[in-house]
């Protein structure tokens, strides 16, 4: 059982997809869910979904850890033609997960109480991001 999800992003940030994925799985029984983001400038995160400040702080931290390509500290970058947010996006996409595997019990994701699934957009411009979801019943 496979499907695709499309997420329309509006610049850098976390976009929750837990509900879309949970809906697709409803009635699916026990098994394993695998998600893959089909881009090399976006990531998939499982993170706290209670306080939105966590998402804000995550973005702030990774923006500092991987500064834009037009800053002095990133002047060694070569791949800069697609804009100052492009190579940092690839670096974040290398550092953060591209695929996630989540056990499913009776059609429900076995996530912790505070865990949600997020697409992490690393580019400035709006994008339509594709996820592939694979579910295999036990």
């Amino acid at each position: 059982m496979q499907t695709g999800f499309e997420i329309n992003t509006r610049g850098q940030g976390l976009y929750e997809v837990t509900r879309d994925v949970a809906l697709w799985l409803s009635g699916a029984g026990d098994g394993l869910l695998t998600l893959l983001v089909q881009h090399s400038s976006a990531s998939l995160l499982i993170q706290e979904n209670a306080d939105p400040d966590v998402q804000r702080d995550l973005c702030a931290y990774f923006s500092r850890l991987v500064p834009r390509g037009d800053t002095p500290e990133m002047s060694y970058l070569v791949h800069t033609l697609e804009g100052p947010d492009d190579m940092p996006a690839h670096i974040k996409a290398a550092m953060l997960p591209v695929s996630l595997s989540i056990p499913v019990q009776r059609g429900r994701l076995v996530l912790g109480t505070w865990q949600g699934i997020y697409l992490f957009e690393h580019r400035d411009a709006p994008h339509t991001r594709k996820l592939t979801a694979h579910f295999r019943a036990d």
Copy 2:
């Protein structure tokens, strides 16, 4: 085949779980193991299990890469109510794996000679951490 593991942690550090997982798999045949940590302030690592100094150095490195919330360089953090170790724990949990998938042959994890599976606790206080394990025979 699914089960849960509980790991009692005593502050930041790596806690090996290889033996518990291997025991659960004994006699399981060929297949695929998936582990998921059900928290957003702890991680799952496959790392060297020969020299304990590797674990010590890993902790030291990530503590420097993601300083505590009460340091000047992290003064931009907003989510600070749960203590100076909380938001850094979320950041480390975003950066390091939350799920792992490991092939299994004749009931044995297909790990390298020096690889062990670790829960990486990012909080200061003791916690009881839950892992979900999913095994699907081929």
Copy 3:
């Protein structure tokens, strides 16, 4: 269905393995591929395979983020006997993926247009690196 791949590396850098994996899967139908690197000083990345400068910049970034063990800023490292590139290799292997799961449709990896699969070698010396591949048909 499981197999092993061996990749001969010639120092730090990204080595593409997409073609080897795709070849092994040809004719395999729908299912899920899981890859695991059996070393704790190398990683597996899904990254852009169009412009080789992306790979060069990724290496440059992570070399700066995790400096060699003989630099002043890494003087706190304890595990240094195996050379100044050894502990940084473990740190990179903790930070970057060790396992990847990729849906497969009609024997083809469901990757984005610009995504390729890479072994990321973190050691200076040439190594023979082992990957385990697991495919389970739906």
